[in-house]
């Protein structure tokens, strides 16, 4: 039982009900409890806002209006969603194998850095430069996770530490490029690389959103198909479910781990290029990644490694962030905004846990559930002879 589950069952001890773990959690229930958690959290936030004398209804209305009331809002949310979705998809892929890639921020930055390098040095038609930028970013993202992936696959070195620490190295490299070797000497800001001349084509009817928005959707669909209909997806899920069983089934577990980790880095790296190729974002500085990797990680964890869940969750979080920014301009302090983010994310996390339990009436006789497995086996084994 999770710690939260055991706290809940302790609270329930004095009541005639108890918690029972579900054998299986259907996808629909898992989605509904998460939405319920988010709604519950917003109600809680509203009550607190009302109690502190603020007009909660006005604030929520302003938040919704900021996003859905105008095209600029929808596009603003979509622009924020792209990097979050890309890093989240990388993490979600690694989670299918129970590997925790915490380094998507670093892979994202290295992808963007490689794209800038290509973009400011390469001459040629825009489409060719953009394609080479995308390829370079993909390779750079994969390269940035290569060492953690080799260490994890072949020497069982915990990937959480190695991938996390490389984030800081990537950030330093970006700062160095912006202050040093690729510095834009003509720009007013001190810390910025030169600007890439090309941007991706815009979506029809959009002012600032480019076809980059389609990339995470295509990747999510591809991953969904891989895990639904291919032997590769089957093998990755088997490794994630039980590595010993994967070895027993003759799957090359270590090589699979290496390859999948490289892919997660590649997706995050490509995300960096997509971010860089939006109009107005064509240069890199130390603030280039507003911790998109962290947001992506939260999205992937809350989505439970479901790729469509990542899309839904990523769009939601990006909208929430965008609404938060607009609300700051309406006089709500940044601390309150962050507190609201936190409460809503916690609500979703609680919804994720709640999906795994159900409340049932306590029976007259409480079976003792805590029996050591081996002795239980011994007992049933006896019955078999």
């Amino acid at each position: 039982m999770t710690p939260l589950g055991s706290i809940a069952s302790t609270v329930l001890r004095v009541t005639p009900w108890r918690l029972e773990r579900r054998l299986e959690v259907e996808a629909r229930r898992a989605a509904l409890t998460r939405i319920g958690g988010a709604v519950g959290a917003m109600v809680l936030v509203g009550i607190v806002l009302l109690l502190t004398g603020r007009n909660a209804f006005w604030i929520f209305w302003q938040g919704l209006d900021a996003i859905f009331g105008r095209q600029r809002g929808i596009e603003g949310a979509a622009l924020r969603a792209i990097p979050i979705l890309m890093t989240a998809l990388g993490v979600a892929l690694s989670l299918r194998m129970k590997v925790w890639n915490i380094g998507s921020d670093g892979q994202f930055l290295m992808g963007a850095l490689a794209a800038v390098g290509v973009g400011i040095h390469m001459d040629g038609p825009a489409w060719l430069v953009l394609i080479v930028m995308a390829a370079a970013a993909t390779l750079a993202g994969a390269a940035w996770i290569l060492v953690p992936a080799l260490a994890r696959a072949y020497w069982d070195v915990n990937e959480i530490i190695t991938t996390l620490l490389l984030n800081f190295v990537a950030l330093q490299l970006v700062t160095w490029s912006a202050l040093g070797f690729w510095r834009d000497k003509e720009a007013a800001v001190i810390q910025s690389t030169r600007e890439v001349a090309h941007t991706l084509p815009g979506l029809p009817g959009a002012n600032s959103v480019t076809i980059a928005l389609l990339v995470p959707l295509v990747i999510a669909a591809a991953l969904w198909w891989v895990f639904r209909s291919t032997t590769i997806g089957y093998e990755i899920d088997t490794i994630g479910g039980n590595p010993r069983a994967a070895g027993y089934a003759g799957i090359a577990v270590r090589r699979r781990i290496l390859i999948v980790m490289l892919f997660t880095g590649a997706i995050a790296g490509l995300g960096g290029m997509l971010q860089l190729s939006a109009p107005g974002a064509q240069a890199m500085n130390a603030g280039f990644s507003a911790q998109f990797g962290l947001s992506g990680f939260i999205v992937a964890a809350l989505a439970g490694a479901s790729f469509w869940g990542v899309i839904g969750g990523g769009l939601f979080i990006a909208s929430m962030f965008y609404a938060g920014i607009v609300l700051q301009t309406k006089g709500l302090s940044v601390y309150i905004i962050f507190a609201i983010y936190g409460v809503i994310l916690t609500g979703i996390a609680l919804g994720e846990i709640a999906a795994r339990y159900r409340v049932v009436r306590r029976e007259a006789v409480d079976g003792d559930g805590a029996q050591a497995g081996d002795d239980h086996d011994a007992a049933t084994e006896r019955a078999a002879t």
């Binding site: 054998l23 070895g247 027993y248 002795d375 011994a378 007992a379 049933t380 078999a384 002879t385």
Partner: protein
């Protein structure tokens, strides 16, 4: 505290305990006296550990009384039991590896001072070791110690808490011969100082060497309690294994070239110790070779080395004359070797995955399901539905996770899956362990069907009844060696019981 060797220290009267409706102990009486070493003997699953777990406060009995030194007790936790002077050393040590011996002995001990220096802990430990006459370097960290020394720390931990009745659960299972001899000396000294020692084992030699009295459990029922003096190994073996009526399985004598042939096979276990020594075995097509032996004598390693899951150290393994040892796991499966693994949950299936995915774990890559990269989803579902139906697996649907099925249904699924994969050889490790009678019978008939269809079957089981029932020929394993191979007609239960307990063929014959 000290005893005269006749007054009981612990009495258990009419103890019954069931798990999930299956009786593990049925009205067992058990008595231990002060100053004695009492061997508790029985096959795997006989109820030895369950009985001791009740005495040590880990389980509560469904019925019966526990009387300690004349007072009836109702233990609700191991802490209650240790307060009453009963302490248990488990088969798997419960030590904190990065910490020192002195720290481990003082951990969670009410008498440990609240604020204390390393120096003081070491001094206290040394003083206590002196009193007990048992020594381990108190400043050493647990991971630096040999298994025998770790066990000594466990014993010291229990004694430090005032245990006067010491329960040792299969203490020699992890020890070398030299370490076991040292342990026996310690046990004798503790008993001489007035303590009771309950010694769980299934090794006959140890029973005779170290105990004053012995109790045999079989299928949760006490067979006998008697002084060790005058007891013979063959008598104990007979009581342990029983003489059950053998169900009717027609045995065959198959001649012809061997299908599976092992010659001079050696292999290491996970701890890097040689677990198979120079094993020679043959299994012919159309016969079941049963491997008898107590678990942990190299059977797991034998199954794994044949199925390419464990590297071969020396020797050769061939199937129909072709080298098997150089093949990959997948290639071994592809040429028609099925493997019902010993640990069906840990190795044989993915509990978090749907039943349909588990149904094809050993053949999803074959042409039947894989076209290039894509997996024929409908084909997998149809195959799984058919498998579930023919193996009579009870599951909500093939889309439900394997984890929601009962152990018996999981094993039915694995057994049928592997039987289908096995065209030439089926390796079945403890295939009926943990199953109820009906499920066990179904798995057994699956094996017999495979044999009758001309497949070679290697059956590993620690249930001697099962090996005798199923095996057309029977090989006995002890400490990684083959002690003897018999045709089923010549297999003598008592003789095999002796070989399983480590008596050599010559000793057993005399």
């Amino acid at each position: 505290m000290t005893g005269d060797g006749t007054r009981p220290s612990v009495e258990a009267l009419g103890i019954s305990k069931a798990f999930g409706g299956v009786a593990a102990l049925d009205a067992v009486d058990f008595e231990v006296r002060w100053s004695e070493v009492h061997a508790l003997v029985g096959e795997n699953g006989a109820g030895k550990t369950t009985l001791c777990n009740i005495l040590a406060g880990i389980y509560r009995a469904d019925a019966g009384q526990v009387i300690v030194d004349g007072t009836e007790r109702d233990f609700r936790s191991p802490a209650h039991a240790i307060d009453a002077g009963i302490g248990m050393v488990h088969q798997h040590f419960r030590l904190v590896e990065p910490m020192t011996v002195a720290e481990n002995i003082h951990l969670g001990w009410p008498e440990t001072p609240g604020v204390v220096s390393q120096r003081a802990l070491v001094d206290r430990t040394e003083q206590f070791m002196g009193e007990m006459g048992l020594h381990v370097d108190p400043t050493a960290r647990i991971w630096q110690l040999s298994v025998g020394e770790q066990q000594r720390v466990e014993i010291l931990r229990v004694l430090a808490r005032g245990a006067r009745v010491l329960i040792l659960d299969e203490p020699t299972a992890v020890l070398t011969a030299k370490e076991a001899d040292d342990l026996f000396r310690v046990i004798r000294e503790l008993a001489a100082s007035g303590l009771s020692v309950i010694f769980i084992t299934h090794k006959l030699r140890e029973v005779l060497a170290v105990s004053d009295r012995l109790t045999v459990l079989r299928h949760g029922v006490r067979e006998i309690t008697r002084p060790t003096e005058g007891a013979t190994a063959s008598e104990i073996a007979r009581l342990m294994t029983g003489e059950e009526r053998v169900l009717d399985v027609e045995h065959r004598t198959v001649t012809g070239a061997p299908a599976l042939e092992l010659s001079g096979v050696s292999a290491l276990n996970d701890r890097g110790i040689e677990a198979l020594h120079d094993v020679d075995l043959t299994v012919r097509s159309g016969e079941i070779l049963g491997i008898a032996g107590v678990s942990g004598n190299g059977q797991s390693e034998l199954a794994e080395v044949i199925c390419a899951l464990r590297p071969l150290r020396s020797g050769s393994i061939t199937l129909d004359g072709a080298d098997l040892a150089s093949l990959s796991v997948r290639a071994v499966t592809d040429i028609g070797v099925g493997h019902i693994p010993e640990d069906r949950i840990g190795m044989g299936m993915v509990l978090s995955a749907p039943v349909k995915d588990n149904a094809v774990l050993h053949n999803y890559w074959t042409e039947e399901f894989a076209q290039g990269l894509t997996l024929d989803r409908q084909g997998v579902i149809n195959f799984a539905k058919q498998l579930v139906e023919t193996a009579r697996v009870q599951t909500r649907s093939v889309f439900s996770t394997a984890g929601q099925m009962s152990g018996g249904n999981q094993q039915r699924l694995v057994a049928r899956r592997e039987a289908l994969a096995a065209d030439r050889l089926l390796v079945a490790a403890h295939p009926t362990r943990g199953l109820d009678v009906n499920a066990a019978q179904e798995v057994r008939s699956t094996l017999i069907d495979k044999r009758d269809s001309g497949c070679a079957v290697l059956l590993i089981s620690d249930d001697l009844d099962e090996v005798l029932l199923m095996g057309d020929r029977i090989a006995v394993m002890y400490e990684g060696r083959i002690m003897g191979v018999f045709d089923s007609a010549d297999a003598d239960r008592e003789h095999i019981g002796l070989l399983m307990g480590g008596h050599s063929a010559v000793e057993a014959a005399s």
